[in-house]
Amino acid sequence: MIRAIWGMARNDLAIWRRSPAALAAALFPALGMGVLVAVLTASVGQQPVALVVQSKGRFAERMARIIRADRDAYLLEDMTAAEAERAIGAQRVAAIIVVPEDFDQALASASAAVDVYLNNVDIDLADDIRRSVTRSVAEFDAPQLGLLGELHGPSTGVLLPNPYRVAVAEHDLRETNVSFLQYQVIPIIVLIIISIGLLGTALLTARDFERGTAKLMVLSPVGRLPLVVGRLLGGTLITFTLVAPLVAFGFLTQYIPYCAEESDGPLWVKLLLSGPCGWMLPVPPWSHGLALIALLAAVTLTTVGMGTLLGVALRDARLVTMSGLNASAYLFFLGGGFTTVAFLPDWIQVVSRFVPTRYAIDGLRQALFYPDLIGFGRDLTVLSGCALSSIVLASFALARAWRRA
């Protein structure tokens, strides 16, 4: 029986090796999403801004220093007024911040202004700049309203009076410093598993019906059970074979010389490596590593079972490809890929509770980025339940479909 199971699994692996189109079907969309994340990282957070300081006064210089210091918010470039005007017209900057000539004099009468000329093309970009400039301006009269003040001011018992009469005591829930790119790489891993597990197994199953090989299997003397188990094992092995090197590569990326943020390598090298460098995963402690393996196994089995069900239901490779791509996209986004579930409307949050990828993404992030495993047990339990039910359902459906082939 074991020989029959292994034979079936090996056969599926061999079919995959000879099917570059199927491999492409599974990997291209997910890798496309990966590129999307890398470019998104450049788009969010920092905006190109011109700073025009028209005054040589002491306070104007101080205001300029505060703005220049907020490197997390702006990609700042000092310009003359004429240069800045040309730059905003040519869309080289999203805004011009002007510290005017009479800044110091106006400050004496409490009427100093920092002018912001803003390309308010959409509210996401415009609000980012508005918030950042407002904070810089607030920091002038109330230094504790700056980032350092929020983190190390009232929250550590140091409260300085300020004219706005309100200060912020910030408390972060997690001991971590995960970048946007790292945070979004996790859903990409899950998307790759979904794509390969779901599409891969669905295509293998549909192929049997298209080519009529399902009938041959029914006539095989080994019985249906080893073949069904072999198919599911094959799908699982294919997924692991493709995903494991990608995850391992994520752990090794940090050793690429030019991936460090402060790297002074040539621009073209950095650009060339921005893709692989973006695929950077932190090496977790061994206990988290074990949790990670358990979670990846549960996700893989879930998607393999779902893929088998899809293949049995549609029995057509082209339909399977389109449905699989559509299903992967929904599973990805509703599970928290590129989105933060808390931001979504309540009814979508309710829907996402029934999407297994949500638990996979949450669990992977918890295991990789945060020092504890709070909530991980729930994620693993839900995924294990999904894996078990999808495998059982898939086994019955496949056996029944072959019997009737």
Binding site: P20, I88, D115, D122, D127, V137, L160, V168, H171, A342
Partner: protein, 366 residues
């Protein structure tokens, strides 16, 4: 052989074959609407962070402060609740943070005492944390200025380039139309040509005395018409469901038609090159995402840096987004004038149609 009759016969045959693949075409159209849904979900995360508001004071200054929080550049979706509910919601991932207004807030503010507001953030990533960290001072500044507290010496004076802000989702769904055009027209174009190899009918085409170019034109016109119909459906969803109405309808139609022509031809070329629908479809899906983000889909591309902006010029979606954002919202998202974007699209449509037909007809006779 009469060219017109040949063209009509080819189109009729293609229509019959498409009719036999209704489920595939329907799934392609579904993918178009799915993209809209996906970019909308992404757009929802750009603003209104769900934050618990625990107000232990309830006095007049606390109310003014809450108003300032609500007016802080679309930053917060405040959810009033008590501390225990907030704790539970925060730990279950339903909130990104909580703001606590202390009991003596109004009294202390009245007395001129600085009051610390407790902010708890579920700092899942740096970007989200920064957004909240920047938003709270914006609310505090608005609160202080509204009450004209003494000692505030500097203010920000904003001068906007556009008369009004465009919402993030209305901005995103318009650019998603260009993405849809690429995926739908590309897939249907690829299917039209790849099918000839999959079914072995390419041999019949090669042996036929009829012009392969005319036969292919007939097939691609049907694929393009179907893609146009699917895009029209998406456009209707954008207008009726999202309430985003183009201010320049003819430019919208013109641009989408050009996109359909370009991407149907590109898809057909890919289909002929790969000879399998199964290979062409994921390739188009995979290419669509990078093309989409590097096209001004989320913000003007040049804001992402000169290199990314230069690369964007290789993608027809860049020009399409440039025209579509102008046609819908009156926005300029490319440094090039809109008429240049439109002319480039027209030129690309013409070149793509000519090259593809020429290449495919040659390929068919080889």
């Amino acid at each position: 052989m009469n060219t017109l009759r040949l063209f009509r016969a080819s189109a009729a045959l293609e229509l019959a074959q498409v009719n036999g693949n209704r489920a595939f075409v329907a799934l392609t159209a579904l993918a178009a609407v799915s993209f809209l849904v996906m970019v909308s979900l992404f757009g929802l995360t750009g603003a209104y962070a769900p934050v618990a508001l625990i107000d232990h004071d309830g006095g007049p200054y606390a109310q003014r402060f809450v108003e300032a929080l609500l007016g802080a550049h679309h930053s917060f979706a405040l959810k009033p609740m008590d501390a225990d509910q907030a704790e539970a919601a925060l730990h279950s991932g339903r909130l990104v943070g909580s703001i606590t207004i202390p009991a003596s807030f109004s009294t202390d503010i009245e007395r001129g005492v600085t009051v610390p507001i407790d902010l708890r953030i579920d700092n899942v990533n740096v970007d989200l944390t920064h957004d909240v960290q920047r938003a709270l001072p914006a609310a505090i500044v608005a609160f202080g200025r509204a009450h004209k507290f003494p000692g505030i010496r500097v203010q920000m004076v904003e001068h906007d380039v556009m008369p009004q802000d465009t919402g993030y989702i209305p901005y995103l769904v318009v650019s998603a139309l260009a993405l849809d055009a690429m995926v739908i027209a590309g897939i249907l174009g690829a299917m039209a040509t790849a099918r000839e190899w999959e079914r072995g009918t390419v041999k019949l085409l090669r042996l036929s005395p009829a012009s392969a170019g005319v036969v292919l034109a007939g097939k691609l016109v049907v694929a393009g018409a179907l893609a146009a119909a699917a895009l029209a459906l998406t456009l209707v969803v954008i207008v009726l469901v999202y309430g985003v109405v183009p201010i320049a309808p003819w430019a919208t139609v013109f641009t989408l038609a050009a996109c359909v022509a370009i991407f149907t031809c590109v898809g057909a070329w890919l289909g002929a090159l790969l000879k399998r629908t199964l290979a062409a479809v994921p390739l188009l899906f995979g290419l669509a995402m990078p093309f989409y983000v590097d096209s001004g889909a989320l913000e003007p591309t040049r804001f992402d840096g000169e290199t990314i902006w230069r690369i964007a010029h290789l993608s027809p979606i860049y020009y399409a987004v440039g025209v579509l954002e102008w046609a819908f919202h009156g926005l300029r998202v490319t440094p090039e004038p809109v008429y240049v974007d439109l002319l480039v699209l027209l030129a690309l449509a013409f070149v793509a149609a000519t090259l593809t037909l020429s290449r495919l007809s040659k390929g068919g006779t080889r």
